[in-house]
């Protein structure tokens, strides 16, 4: 398969994730859509890495996975803290993160 097919699939997944981030109101689902966008970036990185036959893109993809895991960790921690404080789990209601 040509590389441009992979990059097109990556662009499609990225835009689906962007639509999800903009439309959904549950912060859990917003985090999931962020994962979609990060994974689309990973797919593009690995496709370009294959295109050049160079492993640097794959290392970059691993680092992106690490950053995504950290972001999930912190995001879910914030959601659990919100739930403990009986705050609504809704990004439209949460307008500030103080205290």
């Amino acid at each position: 398969m040509n590389i441009d097919w992979y990059v097109t699939v990556s662009a499609l997944i990225f835009s689906i994730g962007a639509v999800g981030v903009m439309t959904r109101r549950n912060p859990l689902v917003v985090l999931l859509c962020l994962e979609l966008m990060l994974n689309a970036g990973n797919l593009a990185l690995i496709a370009f890495s294959r295109m050049w036959g160079n492993g640097d893109g794959q290392i970059f993809a691993i680092i992106v996975m690490v950053v995504a895991a950290c972001e999930v960790c912190i995001g879910l921690g914030i959601i659990v803290a919100m739930y403990r404080r009986r705050l609504p789990i809704d990004v439209d209601e949460i307008r500030e993160l103080q205290g």
Partner: protein
Amino acid sequence: MAELFFFIAGIGAVAGAIGVVVLRNPLFSVLALVSHLLCLALLFLLLRAEFIAAAQVIIYAGAVMVLYVFVVSYVGGADEVIPLTGGGRAQRLLAVAFGGAIFAELAIAVLGTGLKALSGEGAPYSPGPQAFGTPAYIGRLLLTDFLLPFEVATFLLLIAAVGAVTLARRRRGLESGEPLLARPAIDYSRPGFTGTMAEAVGGRRALTAPDPDEPRAGDERPERVPS
């Protein structure tokens, strides 16, 4: 054969992504993301990224998604109420239009580019124990050329783990009036409830739990003088 697998995995990945956005129940969204990640791992395999495909399945679709499932079960992922009238609908349409614009722009940028290599099969590949994308290849790169990013990533993971524990712990352990264990001597050097792991799990803390209505030591504020 590669074309067949590409289309199966690509359609699965896109369908999983649409499922994440469209499904109302957050738990089903998580499951759709798991299927999306599995299809994406197949695409990585087709791109000769064997190690990353394995890491994707084990770490992403395994560990990270288990964390998601636990949090969805804990928070109680209620079905989202979708407002179909008023500002919500306009915003939704606008978001879909914006997403379509992003895709069109990216597709033009990718397919309209003059890069000849982009419409090729990629660099020549010969299988072998040290070939492109194998664990040996990735490991050698990570520990030689990319040692600093590797170390920074480990620190980032450590900081994220500590941050998650700090964010999600219990702030006030026990009810007031409940008898508490004696606290160790080092605890006297700091004011109460300023946060240790032992306090978070309700272990050794202050000798008596303070009454929340009563101002604590170190909590005094200047009295407001009635004018």
